[in-house]
């Protein structure tokens, strides 16, 4: 499972819009480069990343090779009630990753 760094406030007030930041370790191979033996390195990028909050999908990004290696994403959510925030992603090879954290809403 790919390593990731995920940052979001531990606690927010109800109705507050807060920032989430995610940095995923992934080469995001474009498929255009050759390896040291002059053979093409197959394309492999994270092609789908979704954020779920309180069981609902609240954010989704479908990257292509146009996002840099070790993709970084920063987005916002409006807090309603305490619950789990999960971010799942999958790459062209089908390998999955996930971060999960509880958001406390006061």
């Amino acid at each position: 499972m790919a390593q990731a760094r995920f940052d979001m406030p531990a606690q927010v007030r109800a109705g507050e819009v807060f920032k989430l930041r995610l940095l995923v370790q992934h080469p995001m191979e474009t498929g255009y480069l050759l390896d040291l033996n002059n053979r093409r390195i197959a394309r492999n990028v994270i092609n789908d990343l979704r954020c779920t909050y309180l069981g609902q999908e609240v954010f989704r990004i479908e990257p292509s090779s146009g996002l840099s290696a070790n993709p970084y994403v920063e987005f916002f959510l409006r807090a309603t009630q305490t619950g789990e925030i999960t971010i799942d992603w999958v790459d062209d090879r089908g390998e999955r990753g996930q971060v999960k954290r509880t958001l406390t809403v006061v």
Binding site: Q3, R5, D7, V17, R21, L23, Q25, P27, M28, T30, Y32, L33, L34, D35, L36, I41, Y53, Q56, E57, V58, F59, R60, I61, E62, P63, S64, S65, G66, L67, S68, A69, N70, P71, Y72, V73, E74, F75, F76, L77, R78, T80
Partner: protein, 176 residues
Amino acid sequence: MTTPPAALRRDWLRASLGATAWAAGRATFARVLGGALGLGSLPTAQAQGMLSGKLLSLSEMLDPIVAGAPVVRAGVHIETLILADNGLSVPFRVWVDSPMTAQDHVTHIWLLSQRNPVMVMAKIHVGPQMGRAELSTRLRLAGGQQLVALARLSSGQFRYELADLIVTEAGCVDGS
């Protein structure tokens, strides 16, 4: 020559979420306010024969997605570099003016490249639960080009903004 996995991991470990380069570079970002820059539809990087790809026109970038719906250059904002030393990791921030209510919100944002082999760099699904139609990420660019952020509103209308970005390293092949 590909970056060996060890080097990528090193870079990843070194990159903090509040990356200094990002923060330090903020002062020189081009804050492109909707409609204010009058960049026009002419590509500023003229394609020479051996360039890294054909330069798309604005309509070639928008038409496939907009498909005839009304599109206006307003209400979308881009913050990115004017000069990037190389195209591998270019910080990019986009936000769309919107109340983000159930009745009136942004549904999608597309990040479009004028020159990359794949035009759609990312398609973002947006909804009122986000509270803000805003995203920051890092792009990979095949040379200097115009970037377009295209947003779709719940009304079905499209809005966009564009930003000119120079990748200085690719100056050998990019036109002026």
